[in-house]
């Protein structure tokens, strides 16, 4: 270890008369552990349209307040609206999933599948309960899905969208209990209304709007959600999770092509909540996780801790992944024959360490939640971090991809932002392990979302407005950083392949 020591200012006595006292410098340089927000988040419903100003701490406080607002119980019959009559003492009350307590605010948002339907059919009403698939419609009373039915069907080439992570084929992540993680994408009423009023569930209309003088530009107030759920059979763990009961379609090896349908009790393990605001026109990318998910790479091992996605006693001789950290399921990304079994647990670690100020905010919020309701499940969640644009920039109509990224913070050099359970493999792994096809590198939300295009069109459709210096030629029309729009379909009979 180095033998240099820090030169301390050591000036307390001289300064004492000047009204401000110094704290003596400590022996090692360290970032302040205290966070600083001009408006601290509270465990109650608070108007939260934007941070006070753009800084990491203020965006993190905005993220926590948004989390609380969105995980508040929804008002019955009013999807997307919190129930103000629910007191803080009931916030995050643990429920048995079969009790079918009312959903939280974000859980009543529309699923992407209810908005972007085949043949450009109009969306279901906002927040309408999912109708289920042809295989799972006939659920028994008490098994009606609270959420869109998740699927695990097919041969790996299709139908895996609900367990596969974005940007990687066969990118599932399996917990130590042998269950895969399911992903659920939703959007709020502001975005729903924008899509419906502009008929953007129809790919053709997207092309028209994106190339018009109005442009495809989402309004402020848009919220998109991506939640990660895990089936948890061990009931002793339920008080630590937001639990729901849902229905899962699974491939039935005995009846190919006829998936079976079963009830599953799911715990929320991670959630992205992204917000378009006046100060975040490149979006505020907030992401949370359940605290038991995984350890952080480099942290001292704690044999007493149970992790949902990490086995401290992993035996490379027995493990299909050979205990490689964050190793993707398939050694050859496009060859399903190289995939490890779906039931084989992944060995997940968080690669990007949590900044000290974020840790401090999490500690504070967990304490506040516990004070409001000692049983609240949300005391077991934490903010991973928030990615925000330090050069917040209005995107003009007709913009092409890639869009300007707004100089996102935290910077890529620090690691950007990834949720270990939603972008597991983009994190990279242990440089001392051979990671197969493990793509190590600096990637963050905006590394991909600047490329988000409108849906495929009947004819080649390009946009001409560059938002990056030197970007003068036409390119794909941008969809304002949202990949949701590429889910739109074309009216029956229209070939949309360009």
């Amino acid at each position: 270890m180095p033998r240099f020591s820090v030169i301390s200012a050591g000036v307390t006595t001289v300064m004492a008369g000047l009204g401000l006292a110094l704290i003596a410098a400590s022996a090692q340089a360290a970032t302040p552990t205290n966070y600083n927000c001009l408006t601290a988040p509270q465990v109650k419903l608070v108007d939260n349209t934007d941070p006070v100003f753009a800084s990491q701490d203020n965006f993190n406080c905005f993220a926590w307040q948004a989390f609380i607002n969105l995980t508040w119980d929804a008002k019955p019959g009013n999807p997307g609206v919190p129930d103000a009559s629910v007191p803080p003492s009931a916030y995050g009350k643990p429920v048995r999933p079969e009790e079918r307590e009312r959903p939280t605010v974000w859980e009543t948002f529309s699923s992407k599948d209810a908005v972007f339907k085949p043949d450009a059919a109009p969306p279901d009403p906002f927040g309408a309960p999912p109708s289920g698939s042809e295989h799972c419609r006939g659920t028994q009373p008490g098994e009606v899905p609270l959420f869109a039915i998740t699927k695990l069907v097919g041969d790996g080439s299709k139908g895996l969208s609900n367990i596969s992570q974005a940007g990687i084929k066969f990118g599932w992540v399996t917990a130590q209990n042998g269950q895969p993680t399911y992903y659920d994408v939703r959007l709020n009423k502001v975005e729903y209304d924008y899509i419906v009023s502009n008929k953007l569930y129809d790919a053709v209309q997207q092309g028209k709007l994106a190339t018009s003088s109005q442009g495809l530009l989402l309004p402020q107030g848009v919220v998109e959600i991506k939640a990660a759920w895990l089936e948890i059979k061990d009931k002793s763990l339920w008080p630590r999770y937001r639990m729901i009961r849902t229905v899962i379609e699974e491939e039935d090896p005995a009846n190919p092509g006829r998936p079976k349908c079963r009830v599953a009790d799911m715990g929320l393990v991670a959630i992205h909540m992204i917000h378009k605001t006046a100060l975040a026109q490149q979006f505020a990318w907030t992401t949370f996780e359940q605290i038991d998910n995984q350890p952080t790479f480099g942290d001292a091992a704690d044999a007493t801790r149970h992790f949902t996605y990490f086995n401290p006693g992993c035996d490379p001789a027995k493990d299909p992944y050979k205990c490689q950290i964050n190793a993707a399921p398939c050694t050859a990304p496009n060859d399903p024959k190289t995939c490890r079994p779906l039931s084989a647990p992944n060995q997940v670690e968080k690669i990007i360490p949590m900044p000290p100020a974020t840790k401090s905010l999490n500690d504070d919020m967990q304490t506040k939640i516990k004070a409001a309701n000692g049983n609240s499940v949300y005391q077991y969640y934490q903010l991973v971090d928030t990615l925000w644009p330090s050069d917040n920039t209005t995107i003009p109509a007709g913009a092409r991809t890639p869009l300007y990224d707004g100089n996102p913070q935290p910077p890529l050099g620090q690691g950007g932002l990834l949720n270990p359970l939603i972008e597991t493999y983009f994190q990279g792994g242990d440089p001392n392990q051979t990671g197969g096809n493990n793509p190590r590198g600096f990637l963050s939300c905006q590394s991909c979302h600047v490329l988000a295009p409108i849906a495929k069109q009947p004819q080649v459709t390009q946009c001409t407005v560059g938002t990056i210096r030197g970007q003068s030629d036409p390119g794909n029309c941008a969809s304002d950083y949202s990949f949701l729009f590429s889910n739109a379909t074309c009216p029956k009979g229209t070939d949309c392949s360009k």
Binding site: R3, A9, V11, A54, P431, R440
Partner: protein
């Protein structure tokens, strides 16, 4: 707590722990100067512009109550010069880093490309190509964070050198001017300690050893080679671009970083920016304050596309929008923050590194302190580092360039390990921070249109005033720079009021922008007492004919033309200590009302600390 008794030195640093009289003199001088900067910032630019004056939602805490309940807002940005990545997005990562480290691409030959002269309003206001700046030995490091990389052998191509040490600084040049004014030898001592090693460091841990002498740091007249004497102290004048505080590269005999040198990297500018950003702009001027580009162009402060200026300005503006008045928290300054280090998975050490070695093991604080308390007596969420060093103790048998940090290879999109080749890789992680105090007031701020040129006639605008010998030497000292633009040391002087003892006279040079008539005659000058009356203690004589000069007025990023006039100021024997403003009116004209004086342009003070 009502008003503050004084502005503390940056990070509350005490550079004379053993000489309390000198520390008291330095503390007083510093506080007086920061108070002057603050008053100048509040006044803004009332002479030749509209809607940028009397920025009174920025306050001077020496005479404005700051409640103990005042909130502290931390404004933070990355130290890597973002204009490099903004203007040259197609350069490779290694070229961008190399430009930040050395001013040249990795070929060691190609420097910055040209950029549009002015990007207000965005995307291009005036596309005339100009050389990328700011100009100066490391002028492009313009995020209030500069660094110098010490190599084993500067004669080798960069790619073949070993990186032994990197010094990161955010100390403002005004403080060093003040420290020098109290005791030049102490400044030399601090150079020697900060650029070398903490006491007790074993000899076999030292990579680079510098020997700094007084002669290395003094300003010399380039024509005669003679030391320029400070007429107030009688001692030598400080050269802010001396050989140990100049350029991005160093070895034991030359180069180094002790304080900021890029022309916009001054504390006075920082305060001016913060005050200018308090002004709320009318949305019907074509934008709103959530748009950093629009706001910076509308309010005309700072440079677009930096990490710092647009972000600082917008943050301040948004805070004030909530009916809060602001000032920089005590002590006002720019502070480096301990980096949020990347994952250990992304750092590779050589095999001979100690087990469990981490990047942070090789980062230390040479000047500054860990934490200080805010108005409420609680620690502020800020480090107060002024000078940080990265270095591997020599006895460990490897050096910084043997450590590799991952970054995305743009060619493959995959992570690749790159050896540390200079400070840029750390500057990407290193944040600079200012801390503002904010407290509520009623009524809230008014809204104004965007800043625009005042209608004629408008008066001359004072810019800077220095001792004549200092100005003449600085203005004749050519400063080389990678883009070969004409620059002189005058751009690296500081805007602080010259000091004159009662009963003494002093030759001064004033730079100014001429009035709307473009008159080439000298403006009428009058020193103004704190009560607003013309001071009878100062007599002006020997006013020469102005001449045109081109330089970056300290705080500006680029050089521009203005006028300079030399004259003599005689201070009466009976004069009491005071900080005077300077009022300029058009030659031979009497304006009614007279133009406001610029505060804090001349100090009448007895000499209390003599410099031998």
């Amino acid at each position: 707590m009502p008003t503050w008794p004084s502005f503390l030195t940056p990070a509350g640093i005490v550079d004379f722990p053993d000489q309390l009289d000198k520390q008291a003199a330095l503390s007083a001088l510093w506080s007086q100067r920061v108070s002057g900067f603050t008053d100048q910032a509040i006044l803004g630019g009332p002479w030749q512009s509209l809607y940028s004056a009397n920025q009174n939602f920025y306050v001077n805490p020496l005479y404005t109550d700051i409640p103990t309940s005042a909130a502290v807002a931390n404004i933070q940005w990355a130290g890597f010069p973002r204009r490099i990545t903004y203007y040259f997005p197609n350069y490779s990562l290694l070229d961008q880093r190399s430009l930040a480290n050395t001013g040249y691409k990795i070929d060691g030959v190609t420097t910055f490309g040209q950029i549009p002269k002015n990007t207000c309003p965005p995307p291009v206001g005036d596309s005339t190509p100009v050389a990328f700046g700011p100009y100066g030995p490391r002028g492009w490091q313009d995020e209030y964070c500069e660094w110098s990389t010490s190599y084993d052998d500067l004669s080798k191509p960069v790619a073949e050198r070993k990186v032994l040490r990197i010094d990161f600084v955010c100390e403002n040049p005004e403080y060093w001017n003040s420290l020098w004014a109290i005791d030049p030898q102490r400044a030399v001592d601090i150079y020697n300690s900060a650029l070398n090693y903490p006491d007790g460091t074993p000899e076999d841990d030292k990579n680079v050893q510098k020997v700094v002498t007084l002669d290395d740091l003094v300003l010399k007249d380039p024509k005669t080679g003679a030391t320029v004497i400070d007429p107030f102290t009688g001692g030598p004048t400080y050269d802010p671009l001396n050989k140990f505080n100049s350029g991005p590269e160093a070895d034991p005999t030359t180069g180094g970083a002790m304080h900021l040198t890029a022309t916009p990297n001054t504390l006075q500018t920082e305060l001016g920016l913060a005050a200018g950003a308090t002004v709320q702009r009318q949305a019907n001027s074509g934008g709103n304050n959530t748009n950093t580009d629009w706001l910076i162009c509308c309010s005309q402060y700072g440079q677009l596309h930096r990490n710092s200026d647009p972000h600082i300005g917008q943050s301040v503006n948004l805070v004030v929008q909530r009916s809060l008045k602001v000032s920089l928290a005590n002590p006002p300054g720019l502070y480096l923050q301990a980096p949020v280090w990347p994952s250990e998975a992304w750092v590779k050490f050589p095999p001979n590194a100690p087990a469990g070695a981490k990047l942070q093991d090789y980062f230390r604080v040479a000047r500054g302190t860990e934490q200080m308390n805010g108005p409420d007596g609680q620690p502020m969420a800020s480090n107060f580092y002024l000078h940080c060093v990265m270095e591997v103790p020599k006895s460990q048998g490897f050096c910084l360039s043997d450590i590799e940090i991952m970054a995305t290879d743009p060619a493959t999109g995959f992570g690749t390990f790159y050896p540390i080749s200079g400070g840029a890789q750390i500057a990407e992680l290193l944040k600079v921070q200012i801390n503002a105090v904010a407290f509520p007031v009623q009524p809230g701020p008014q809204q104004f249109p965007c800043v625009t040129t005042a209608p004629s006639p408008y008066p001359p605008q004072p810019l800077q005033m220095l001792y004549a010998d200092q100005w003449n030497a600085a203005n004749a000292t050519v400063i080389p720079n990678v883009v070969n633009q004409p620059m002189t040391l005058a751009s690296n002087t500081v805007i602080v009021p010259p000091r004159v003892e009662p009963g003494r006279s002093v030759d001064l040079v004033l730079t100014f922008n001429p009035d709307s008539s473009g008159s080439t005659a000298a403006p009428s000058m009058a020193f103004v007492a704190p009560d607003g009356t013309i001071s009878s203690d100062v007599t002006i004589s020997n006013v020469r004919h102005p001449y045109t000069v081109t330089y970056a007025v300290p705080g500006n990023s680029y050089p521009s033309s203005c006028s300079a006039v030399s004259f003599t100021a005689q201070v009466s024997r009976q004069a009491q200590p005071a900080v005077l403003g300077l009022r300029l009116t058009s030659p031979g004209m009497t304006a009614d009302p007279p133009p406001p004086p610029i505060p804090a342009f001349l100090t009448i003070a007895p000499l209390t600390i003599a410099i031998a």
